[in-house]
């Protein structure tokens, strides 16, 4: 398998709460630390991504460099539309006036798919941008909307191509569609938890992406796995349960045994779901551990990249 960083566009998607943002940030950090110029784009609320890199200020639009070679931006559809219109319209300032008009905004809010289209359009633009004869960004990581919305997100260019007969919009949408479908440039990276519902959604997502849409998916990230202990937890619990419930001067052996049993059950359930993924997906899995203290800063991201790299950069 090739390194994921050979792709220009990495779209991270998955069910809500599976860790899309932290995975996107870890990928971007890994790419930047191996010397690539990388952009990581947020599509949800602004701020979470920059904060992970230790920057309390939201990155905004068009974003900024938070670390050497690592550019964070918030893909605000209104800003992206304003930028696009400015590039296309003859009179500067017109797009701002149009977008500031309440009536126009209210109409625009109702136009199906415009957010997704302009967001993808901006990604296409980032991919095309050059700086002194080489791409401005070697790699663009997108923290895409949650599954369901994630599929719609990628579907929009195709819908536009099929609904609009001719003209520049159709040509743009076709260019975006070509980028999304090009396995040499774009890969979708689903992320899931080893739990029933996220696993079911992931199986469905991969099936639809690959079979119906023909986009490239070459691995799946399984996030927040309980670390596999070095010792057999059931055996440890049994040994502790054979001791008196209390020992003077130390924590209760039976209490520790209860913790061990709880962890054992959790790891067993997770292994069952991992097995489901292995059996039903014909793709390599990249497993990330659950960090006990959560993921809130650069040190946590670094720790994740250590686990991530063998599976994505090999």
């Amino acid at each position: 398998m090739t390194s994921i960083f050979e792709r220009r566009l990495i779209v991270v998607t998955g069910k809500g709460g599976t860790g899309k943002t932290t995975l996107s940030a870890s990928l971007a950090l890994a790419a930047a630390e191996r010397g690539l110029r990388v952009a990581v784009a947020e599509t949800g609320r602004d701020g979470a991504m920059a904060r992970l890199f230790g920057d309390p200020q939201p990155a905004g639009y068009p974003g900024r460099e938070v670390r050497p070679g690592l550019h964070v931006l918030h893909l605000d559809p209104f800003e992206a539309l304003a930028e696009y219109l400015d590039l296309e319209l003859p009179l500067p300032g017109l797009s701002r006036r149009l977008l500031a008009n309440r009536s126009f905004r209210s109409w625009l809010e109702a136009v199906p798919g415009w957010r997704e289209l302009i967001t993808l359009g901006k990604l296409w633009h980032l991919e095309q941008q050059e700086d002194q004869g080489r791409p401005r960004f070697d790699c663009i990581v997108v923290d895409a909307p949650a599954t369901g919305h994630g599929l719609t997100f990628l579907d929009v260019p195709r819908v536009v191509v099929s609904a609009v007969r001719s003209g520049p919009l159709r040509r743009r949408a076709a260019a975006v569609e070509a980028l999304v479908l090009d396995p040499a440039r774009t890969v979708i990276l689903p992320v899931t938890l080893a739990e029933e519902l996220p696993v079911s959604e992931t199986l469905e997502l991969v099936d639809r992406l690959v079979r119906e849409r023909g986009v490239s998916v070459d691995r799946v990230v399984v996030n927040a796995l309980e670390p596999q202990p070095a010792i057999d937890l059931s055996e440890l619990a049994a040994r502790l349960e054979a001791l008196p419930a209390e020992l003077a001067g130390a924590p209760s052996p039976h209490g520790i045994a209860a913790c061990a049993r709880h962890l054992k059950q959790r790891t067993d359930r997770q292994q069952e779901q991992l097995k489901r993924l292995r059996e039903d997906l014909d793709l390599p899995l990249v497993c990330l551990p659950r960090l006990a203290g959560g993921v809130s800063g650069l040190d946590d991201l670094r720790q994740l990249t250590i686990h991530l790299l063998p599976g994505i950069d090999a």
Binding site: G17, T21, S106
Partner: protein, 389 residues
């Protein structure tokens, strides 16, 4: 009543929170608790896990109310329904279309077929319309709603207003009826600044694109009255005294940040959640605090000695390895418990200040996907023991 039972005097309980925090299970557990107390309850859920749906007797493809059989709940007092926004929206169109021709032309429209569920938050709107319909039934005392996962927090709250905004939009009016709009003052002011931009936009988007979209929207104009009336009723229900909001969160930083955004959006509407529920929180088994992450290295060394000695008769030379493993495990466990507790501190502090009920549901060993699991969630929410942190 100082507990969550206070919710049962409302007509509608809306569970909101970020994706993946377990809104569905919490909503179902609240509904079961209500039904157990004799309140005729319906839980309306969206996108439940397959096994949970089966446990509730829900089958995909139907949005009818089905009776749910739960031990300890009088038959008939608990029902459940699946919310299917696309289906609800289609039903709404059928209901509100002035005639068959309009209805058919909407269903036949290519844009509608591809993206009807995205039109101005129409999925959220339709979901709320269905909730409104159910809330009007006289055989239901309490409706517990699990909200749709949305890309933008709390879209469903704004959906009615957004749809009304669209239908009232002068821009839409102009696209649909250019001649009639030409004389309007508001339009003239708008037009003066942007007419050339619009011409340019036509050039960018391609011939007829704006018209095409507007043609689609035009069909909706004929239903504007019905949509508007519905929207007002939904807003009155959601933001009135008969509705309570329950904010559900996880303990991760990402989940809490999203929850905070939800809370702020509710606050913009003048709403404080009636309850804040943290789900899947790491807690000590049996509520028994075993240690603290700040415990000194000295005491850990002495624990190790005591535990090793106790294990030696059965394990011999392997005793120390087991003692080490046990204490490492305990350390990690304590760290997890303390992290979640610290992370949840601010949101519960705020709940206390605003008089909201705070509750913690522990992380169970496996996903909640059956009635036993729901009973465990229910016990955590409704037992005598108040919030843990």
């Amino acid at each position: 009543m100082s507990g969550l039972e206070a919710l049962f005097s409302r007509r509608l309980v809306v569970c909101v929170g970020p994706g993946g925090v377990g809104k569905t299970t919490v909503a179902a557990a609240i509904a079961i608790a209500a039904a157990r107390r004799g309140v005729r309850t319906a839980v309306v859920t969206i996108d439940p896990a397959r096994r949970l749906a089966e446990a509730l007797g829900l089958a995909p493809g139907s949005d009818d109310l089905v009776p749910v059989d739960v031990p300890g709940v009088e038959p008939g007092s608990l029902r459940a329904a699946l919310l299917e926004p696309k289906r609800a929206f289609d039903a709404l169109v059928d209901q509100l279309a002035p005639d068959e021709a309009t209805r058919d032309s909407i269903h036949a429209n290519a844009i509608y077929q591809h993206v009807s569920d995205q039109l101005a938050g129409s999925a959220e709107y339709a979901a709320m319309a269905r909730v409104h319909e159910l809330s009007a039934r006289s055989d239901i005392d309490l409706l517990v709603v699990d909200t749709p996962p949305s890309a933008h927090a709390l879209d469903f709250l704004d959906a009615p207003a957004r749809l009304m905004g669209l239908l009232d939009s002068t821009f839409l009016q102009w696209l649909i009826h250019p001649a009639a709009s030409a004389g309007r003052l508001g339009w003239r002011i708008f037009q003066r600044g942007t007419q050339s931009a619009l011409h340019a936009m036509e050039r960018i988007t391609g011939l007829g694109f704006l018209e095409e979209i507007s043609e689609f929207l035009l069909a909706f104009e004929s239903m504007a009255g019905g949509f508007r009336e519905r929207a007002h009723e939904i807003e009155a229900l959601l933001f009135g005294p008969r509705c309570a909001f329950v904010l559900i969160t996880g303990a991760s930083a990402a989940s809490l940040a999203q929850t905070e955004a939800f809370r702020a959006r509710l606050g913009d509407r003048g709403i404080e959640p009636a309850a804040v529920i943290a789900n899947r929180v790491r807690v000590w088994p049996n509520d028994r605090v075993l240690t603290d992450p700040s415990e000194s290295a000295d005491s850990k060394a002495s624990w190790n000695a005591i535990l090793s000695q106790a294990l030696r008769p059965s394990l011999g030379a392997d005793a120390e390895r087991h003692a080490n493993a046990a204490l490492d495990l305990l350390d990690g466990y304590a760290f997890g418990v303390a992290s979640d507790r610290a992370a949840l501190g601010p949101i519960f502090e705020r709940a206390r200040r605003t008089g909201a009920i705070g509750r913690v549901v522990p992380e169970f060993a496996s996903d909640v996907h059956d009635l036993d699991g729901l009973a465990a969630v229910e016990a955590a929410l409704f037992n005598e023991d108040p919030e843990r942190p």
